[in-house]
Amino acid sequence: MSTIDYAQKIPNNVNLSDDRTLQRALEGWQPNFIQWWDDVGPEGSTDFEVYLRTAVSVDPQGWAQFGHVKMRDYRWGIFLNPGDANRQIHFGDHKGEKAWTDVPGEHRANLRRIIVTQGDTEPASVEQQRHLGLTAPSMYDLRNLFQINVEEGRHLWAMVYLLHKHFGRDGREEAEALLQRQSGDENNPRILGAFNEKTPDWLSFFMFTYFTDRDGKFQLAALSESAFDPLARTTKFMLTEEAHHMFVGESGVSRVIARTCQVMNELKTDDVQKVRAAGAIDLPTIQRYLNFHYSVTIDLFGADQSSNAATFYSSGLKGRYEEGKRDDDHLLKGQSYRVLEVQNGQLVDKEVPMLNALNEVLRDDFIKDSVAGVNRWNKVIEKAGIPLRLSVPHKAFNRQIGALAGLKLSPEGQVVSEAEWQARQAEWLPTAEDRAFVASLMGRVVEPGKFANWISPPVMGINRQPVDFEYVRFN
């Protein structure tokens, strides 16, 4: 049941051939997708054979098959986790009713909006990362980048399938538009701000995959609770793939830190200039990159008070992270949650109805998860015997969305004047000079087993292969 049919033009486990109209519609979209990949996919990679993970079924035994394939030939397709015919809606006003296999008319617009927004992020990150292959710090990292790229491409397929299958002509038009918007395009940008930022270097990439793909984890986890069963099943499988992306980010930053600490200990210095001169990225620069990516990413969760979020929850479209594991009434009516707001120039807690604060609930879950990972990075520094520690900035730092947007705060959470913000911004966020320095380290290293000077080798290879395995064949 869960096996994927690769004999078809569009690999799938949803019996696509039984629905000729849908099949033809998706086959019509496919060449546009390939054209998009050729135009804005990983630059110069057409002939590379990459050691990619591909699913042959969605059960544990089948979904991680490894082999060298050209990315263009990667078997993008439509894979849904197995369904449960008796699944019940487990939160919101429809709690206890049977989960929907079709879109209820009254929720059509909201569901389409959710799916389009999620779908828009998937190709965006491929576009943001398309030049990174030219400056990979190792063949191992290059392969990881490409694995992420193809899976983001497949996640786009996952959302496009839902649009085509369940939203008729509107859905087909939205699916077309997903290939027309482009990251950073002035006239036709991607929907969410973070996906229009540049990913110019590998430190940014690792921060992006740590923080922003972690946003993906929380959004997908919330969607995998959905009363709309096809969305729940689709996102469940996407979550399995998403884990690798976060792994690349967490281990990537951790390896950068490990190398920095090694250089600091070798030179017996914490002098930023000396560390930089030795070709490693100093810890204060890493902290500034962290501040930037963290603050940009927590904006992705949306406004701290949102009536849309309340509607999505009450109507069963989008649950909370780990909804099924929470032991409350799953209706949340009459409950409250604390959000931050500014009164008289000071940050204060304010109780608001829980339903309206669900974006904030998800953001706080994300923050908890992020902080735990930053503490794991700190373990690396601690092990090296260096006293400095990294930390995430205050939730209200550098925010552009919601009630906190535009507020001037130090990373520690002190409200500061515009003048102080201007004066100290360079301490808190990456400067042009920081970015230029990091960019200066980005030379291409792709000989098996060799690594750029600013990053340590990983603890182990992919799929138990050795670290010096030939992960990419440049034919």
Binding site: A64, K217, K236, S251
Partner: protein, 428 residues
Amino acid sequence: MNAMTEAAVIRQHLIDPEICIRCNTCEATCPIGAITHDDRNYVVKADVCNGCMACISPCPTGSIDNWRTMPATRAYPVEEQLLWDELPPELTPEQLAEAGVATDAQAEAAVPVLAQAPAAAAATLAEAPFNSAAYGATTPPWSAAHAYTNLYPPKKPTTATVVGNINCTESGFASETHHVVLDFGSMPFPVLEGQSIGIIPPGVDANGKPHVARQYSVASPRNGERPGYNNVALTVKRVTEDHQGRPVRGVASNYVCDLKVGDTVQVVGPFGHSFLMPNHPRSHIVMICTGTGSAPMRAMTEWRRRLRKSGRFEGGKLMLFFGARTPQELPYFGPLQTLPKDFIDINLAFSRQPDQPRRYVQDLMRERAADLAALLKDSHTHFYVCGLKSMEEGVVLALRDVAEQAGLPWDTLGPVLKAEGRLHLETY
């Protein structure tokens, strides 16, 4: 082996908190709810986990694949695992012995070895979890000859005389590998193809203790490198750098490679009672090796060649997958080229050939999937893997994939190969 029953032992499944990224994939995948987490760690409940391995391949980090041999009564509880910042080390044999668990069931385990038998402890446990080593047979093929072991234990070595020592790789290359022939004179030293012997380098180590024996697979057939004489051949690579490429001088390998004809050496053994070739005339042998892992393969091939020459062998196929960085570094490259194609099906993988894509033995195995699948279906086929530890996983995974693609579920086939003594792993 009896000691195993004295204390119940488990292979406890643990997650490495230093590598785990807390992505929740394992918990979401586990079919029986054996994995749980708090804000700090993801952990496995020892009393629930049945070692089904469903969580292993979906994990993006590799942190999930950690196992500890533990007395069942002392399994790490969830509460303790949740507090870990790093994995505890394996219990030492002494600690296990204290808890009533025997680990040195096999005599040769007492000898520190280069070429070690597959994880004996894991393999003898009733519920050994999946890992490639767990598929290695601990019993010989049914038609194997009976092997003598431990005629000369570490405390009572015998003496052999060097009667030959040649470089069997092209000279001038880093991977200098020697073919060394030892003669036992009138001392009995019967060996079978696939067995190994130990050599004790003279002198003492940095702590002033006598060197321990280093183990080498026998590269000659049962009737001697020179037929009818009481001698054996070894394939020994001169170790000049460690796995990270740092210069290091291997004590035993340099001692053996520098031996002159007429020198005498202290020898212990023979060792090994399962990595043995089948004698059944229609048995097929698939050999997969890298570097000096070729020694037992050379022994088996040469025995088959002698049998064939004498007209006493028909039918059984030989298939060889042999990997090295370059042809110049491949031991026995010249002699291999002269073997008749209808006698042995040779597949060479070179990983550092200029202007060529890198190829590893498992790549070749996948290319020869159709032929391997036919052999896998034949109960007369035996598989032998010998080489560096890092090749083992890839090879067994390739074998599994070939089997699965041919409609042979590995969950069924793997244990059968092991139980029937048809899949042998010797990696180091």
